[in-house]
Symmetry: C2
């Protein structure tokens, strides 16, 4: 079961592997244009990579006016596993070396059931994907979990919404089970990396990925690399105060952003509105299901319900308030809004934009796009795969 995937022997090889990952199959000549190596050196390094089996020859490239060059690509048998553990769901996907998704499964699952149950589930999903024929084994796996992680060890630390996960050796345990290297990170960070690799944040070096879902978190990318902070809790913006002496929050404080616009806060507000008869739509949904969730608000808003739209607008304004502060502080080149916000996307985006453009200084907002994520639920799994590929494609 254990798969001993080769590793690049030096920085040049690592560089080439990443170029092939990010740019797809490429000719030797074109690779030569992108790296500052002599022809001879390049040939040597490529030969070595061919020997290790990490890359393979792939026919002839189109002529650029002379002799045709040989194409090179990453080994087509390489497989990465991307796992995105959300608060209420698990996403598992298999990608090839270019991080294209070959198979993707989603299942609802409450993260509070604990690491053992969750990983049993996740491993079953991975096995199912493998059985479907998209992969024979995995060369690396990336895992995103909804809480802070001590990154070098791959261990969750003091996760507020994940009782029972504190200190669980995710990396080690899964590495055992899967027989391949495993990297673990906060789910927001891997989503940010996903959007960076294949989504709206390509070619942006400093940006924020704000995820609005059950919780509210933020991936911070500095110079193209995820910034994790001293304890791995950077980007934990859900408990920034938006109202002095405001609503009590589960964290023990008052007035936190999540107390107003987290998944459960939104659901509660909606239920109140339904009970008080302010919204027929929401009331109908409440009767149907017995309780309301964030997605009910999204559905009602899409259907034009005024109260639901107001809830989203108000939440967007509050989120925008926080983001405005972060924009002033961080001066990013892009802000991406993501998470389980499909549907309520544009109303939310408009509210956030209004607030940020009004509150932050012109120099910081002047050329600042605020956009929705492009990848939706695949952002996480692609980012997870990328995390592990970054590790694999670095000198041993």
């Amino acid at each position: 079961m254990r798969r001993m995937t080769a590793r690049p022997a030096n920085a040049h090889q690592a560089r080439l592997l990443r170029l092939l990952r990010d740019g797809g199959p490429n000719s030797r000549a074109q690779l030569g244009d992108q790296v500052e190596l002599s022809r001879s050196k390049l040939a040597v390094e490529i030969d070595r990579l061919l020997q290790t089996g990490l890359v393979v020859a792939d026919g002839l490239a189109a002529s650029r006016g002379g002799r045709r060059s040989h194409n090179i690509r990453l080994a087509p048998s390489l497989r990465f596993l991307g796992v995105d553990i959300g608060a209420t769901s698990i996403d598992v996907a298999v990608t090839n070396a270019e991080l294209e998704v070959l198979g993707h499964l989603t299942q609802p699952m409450d993260v509070r059931e604990g690491p053992v149950a969750v990983f049993e589930q996740a491993l079953a999903m991975a096995a199912k994907l493998r059985a479907s024929g998209v992969a024979e084994g995995f060369d690396g796996a990336g895992i995103g979990v909804p809480g802070p992680v001590r990154f070098p060890e791959g261990v969750p630390v003091a996760p507020p919404i994940m009782p029972g996960w504190d200190g669980f050796p995710v990396r080690e345990a899964l590495s055992q089970e899967l027989g391949c290297p495993v990297m673990v990170d906060n789910d927001v960070n891997i989503m940010a990396q996903g959007e960076q690799h294949a989504g709206v944040a390509r070619a942006v070096r400093d940006f924020l990925y704000v995820k609005i879902g059950t919780g509210i978190g933020c991936g911070v990318v500095v110079g193209g690399e995820v910034y994790r902070g001293t304890n791995g809790s950077a980007g934990d913006i859900g408990h920034i105060q938006v109202e002095v002496d405001g609503r009590p929050c589960a964290c023990g404080n008052r007035g936190c952003l999540e107390a107003y616009f987290g998944g459960s806060a939104l659901a509660r507000d909606a239920e109140n509105a339904a009970r008080e008869g302010r919204s027929a739509q929401l009331a109908a949904r409440l009767d149907e299901g017995g309780e309301l969730a964030a997605r009910d608000v999204a559905a009602a808003a899409t259907a034009g319900d005024a109260v639901a739209l107001d809830l989203i607008r108000e939440g967007g304004t509050r989120t925008g308030q926080v983001i405005a502060g972060l924009v002033s502080f961080f001066n990013p080149g892009l802000v991406v809004i993501g998470g389980g916000v499909t549907g309520l996307g544009h109303t939310l985006l408009a509210a956030i934009r209004t607030q940020v453009y009004r509150q932050s200084l012109p120099l910081a907002t002047g050329n600042l796009p605020i956009v929705l994520g492009e990848l939706g639920p695949t952002a996480g799994v692609i980012g997870a795969a990328r995390l592990t590929s970054d590790h694999l494609f670095s000198p041993a």
Copy 2:
């Protein structure tokens, strides 16, 4: 006049120069312990550095149990100029290669008089220092200005409190005048670097330096390097909103932090208190000077005036509110409070600490020191000198 200072030829040499700068004179053997080079290679690189004149031999080191090693130090004739242009003052200092201050001058000066007048003054101060014998010429100069800077070009961009500075080619102009390389940065960034080099932030990789003075700004250090953001405006926290629909601010918005606790806001609040007869101390000072400044509040607070103390406490609480948000987001390993806050230091610090420790999550605050800067007004000039030394001590 132009001084052609040599530059290191490669990364090894740059590394050695920085070790000598940060650790002072050192023996060849000890340097060898700190870098991963073979003895032969090390000897070659040191010989080359000796040839360029950047370092000189400095006698014999103490024995470590065997043959005594030869000491090496940075050329004692190297001189850096550090200039810290504040909103209301200019600091100019000369340092040696180890960034020890050899001479330091301060003069009041309103930055609004424009770059020409300000630099005339600064150059006169530099000339005075040179005349006093501490330097014959400068090998590099670092300039801090109170506003955002497009760092690679060394040009202020859209500085709010510095009309007339927008686009002024500071780097080029001063490089001409001084005949040496010049680096320009935001003054908060250089103060952060100063505390990092010689103050409380030694050995911390990720930290925030919050400067409270005429304006309120924040230096952001990520992985030991200053983070400047996409437009060089990162750390501009003075205009983060602390009160919805709050006081109008000079920036055009409402409720900004600076509208409550910037230098002029503090002065105005104090004047109001004096006029309304709430504080005899402040009233007396107002009678004396005709107007009040932030330092009057500091003085009154030191003398025990209750109103002044309240003003500082309230400002500290508001600042703490903002910092709490930044701590959640950035998860720094240290927060340094600096600026012209001498005197009101501990009251302020207590208020900030209370607020941050109450509002931020335990994981982020658990091991987070919040301390006053160690260097006071020399932080800026040392940081400025360090900025230019970083540039000079990098491969050409």
